[in-house]
Amino acid sequence: MYRYDEVDQRLVDERVAQFRDQTRRFLAGQLSEDEFKALRLRNGLYIQRYAPMLRIAIPYGLLSSEQLRKLADVARRYDRGYGHFSTRQNLQLNWPKLAEVPEILAELATVQLHAIQTSGNCVRNVTTDHFAGVAPDEIVDSFVWCELIRQWSTFNPEFSYLPRKFKIGVNGALEDRVATYVHDVGLHALRNSEDEVGFKVIVGGGLGRTPMIGEVIRDFLPWPHLLTYLDAVLRTYNRFGRRDNIHKARIKILLKERGVERFREEVEAEWAHLKDGPGTLSAADVEKIESRFTRPAYEKLGTDPISFEMGSVPNFKAWKKRNVHGHKVPGYAAVTLSLKKTGVPPGDVTSEQMEAIADLAERYSFGELRVTHEQNLVLADVRTRELPALWREVRALGLATPNIGLLTNIISCPGGDFCALANAKSIPVAKAIQERFDELDYLFDIGELDLNISGCINACGHHHVGHIGILGVDKNGEEWYQVEIGGNQAPASLGKVIGPAFARADVPGVIEKLVACYLERRDSEAERFIDVVQRVGIEPFKEYVYGNSHKRTTRRQRQLAVA
């Protein structure tokens, strides 16, 4: 856990005071709606369909028990007793009162939390691997680099009024669990042949209405240059990114209009001036940040086998298979608490649950937890011998659904139930699909499948990179759902639409057909849904869902032609 020093704390406190004054001026009519919008958004405050929404930053998804308790407390006293974990590892409150937001922020500041730059046209909360620091395939502990980036981006005076929002994701392991190729900037840690750490720099990925896979603009950036290189990318974007059209303002459009070669040349030319300048990181800079992280005091443990007795409990076995993950330290495991129980909006937790989870984290996992971009929580440092005991407690809280990596682990935005931008609701669709696939044996048989739902083209539910992606669309004032298949987070690929949209009631049936088509065609259980789509293309799935009416038409036309 990163611990604030006096400067970190002072900056957060000063931000609260600044925003309190801005809110006062807005309520007194001294700031226009538009101006206050630019200021409140960078403090995480949206005005939504029914109420404001406050997005609280969980920097790189790392949270302490104490912080989670405060979130529970704030949600209970200032909201309706629950919160929603988002795909940027943040927590959203759906019903705060605008005038009370400065007070909420002041409360959060007491536990080193804030809502700084969780929205607005600035650098957003940097995201990373929820297994950072514990992953068996770790290259570097990405938390340290994320904190360096957090400090660099926080109140960065030059990059606070960008053309559009800017999202950075850092992956520090062999496997990319961050979806780095769909970020404005994705950083992928590497070690070169001399064992020096550096980053592959990927620019211009993103979802939204113009989904794009990022381009690698540098294969290996030695770590001392991380921040000066980011300065060069951001300065290029700040100066030349489009500001005439909000839908063309992301860096991906600049990169596309320039072409990757020219864009890279511009960034490198800018960097030539900044390289080795004052922004260059020294080993001491990195050590200073590293030393401010508390680290779990791991015991020396053997690899305890799970007792025979527990091994035969089917529910425990299922949970262990799906929700328990490897750890770099022997005798420990990482555990995902599923926030995807059937019938509960994906990512939602109540204040009571938050408090109970905070207790669990304290008793089982050194008082820390992580938020995943798939909207679950992780206890990262659990002794394997305590897994059965933890499982019983987690199950009692309704957080042991063994569906991580499976179809019902749905990523979903809040959708039309809350969001002012949405064309359609997403939570009821997620619920209907989860109900249809509630049978565990069937779910396990289907195997790994990412299903993502967005209520509109802005793609907060990451539907483009779901193996199955569902997008809410508006047709003459009615809610319809377009279905894509073939998307993937890493290696990144974007889904393709299978055909005309469906009414909400038909969506679960369509998913069943897609799954049935997959099960018929897979060559073994090892071949996942996404593998089959990549092998056979979307046509067979299309036919399975829509029937082969278009072929009949062709045959009829042929007959007509012959006649």
């Binding site: 801005q22 030059e158 300065r235 700040n238």
Partner: protein, 162 residues
């Protein structure tokens, strides 16, 4: 002469500078002559005017300032900077942040040491960051409270950035 509040080096000051619009100085009058510039006044001139009438502007006794728009590339005026006692950067919209990069470049890359003034939609909410990137003068938007604006320099007492 502008009536807006001017802050220079964290103090409210009177403004001796006059911002010239391009149009009148480029139009030919009825007598067929291009209008003269006031000889002794301190003038801030747009880039276009500077490009067209450089010699006339330099021949005057008054001091000279240059006004840049958000899309202007400071590299293109880098070698002219020695002629200017003031460079003004316009912020036509509350959220257009290009001018922050312009300021940084003028100060750090092109070594500009004179007055660097922010013009346009400048409110107290901008001042702290503007000062950080190198501005030292600000023409506040109409209606801004000067005292509150001065207080806003203290919004943040530290910065992470070098």
């Amino acid at each position: 002469m502008s009536t807006a509040t001017l802050i220079r080096e964290r103090r409210v000051v009177n403004d001796s500078w006059q911002l010239l619009e391009s149009q009148p100085c480029l139009q030919v009058g009825e007598d067929g002559l291009v209008p003269d510039f006031p000889d002794a006044a301190d003038l801030i001139v747009p880039r276009k005017l500077w490009a067209l009438r450089r010699d006339d502007l330099l021949a005057r006794r008054g001091r000279l300032g240059l006004a840049l728009e958000p899309g202007d590339d400071p590299a293109e005026v880098a070698t002219d900077l020695e002629h200017f006692a003031l460079v003004a950067v316009n912020f036509p919209k509350f959220g257009d942040g290009r001018g922050y990069s312009t300021a940084r470049l003028l100060r750090t890359r092109y070594g500009y040491k004179g007055e660097l003034r922010a013009l346009g939609q400048i409110t107290r909410d901008h001042l702290n960051f503007m000062e950080s990137v190198g501005f030292d003068a600000y023409e506040l938007r109409e209606g801004e409270d000067a005292e509150e604006a001065l207080a806003s320099f203290g919004d943040f007492s530290e910065a992470y950035q070098v």
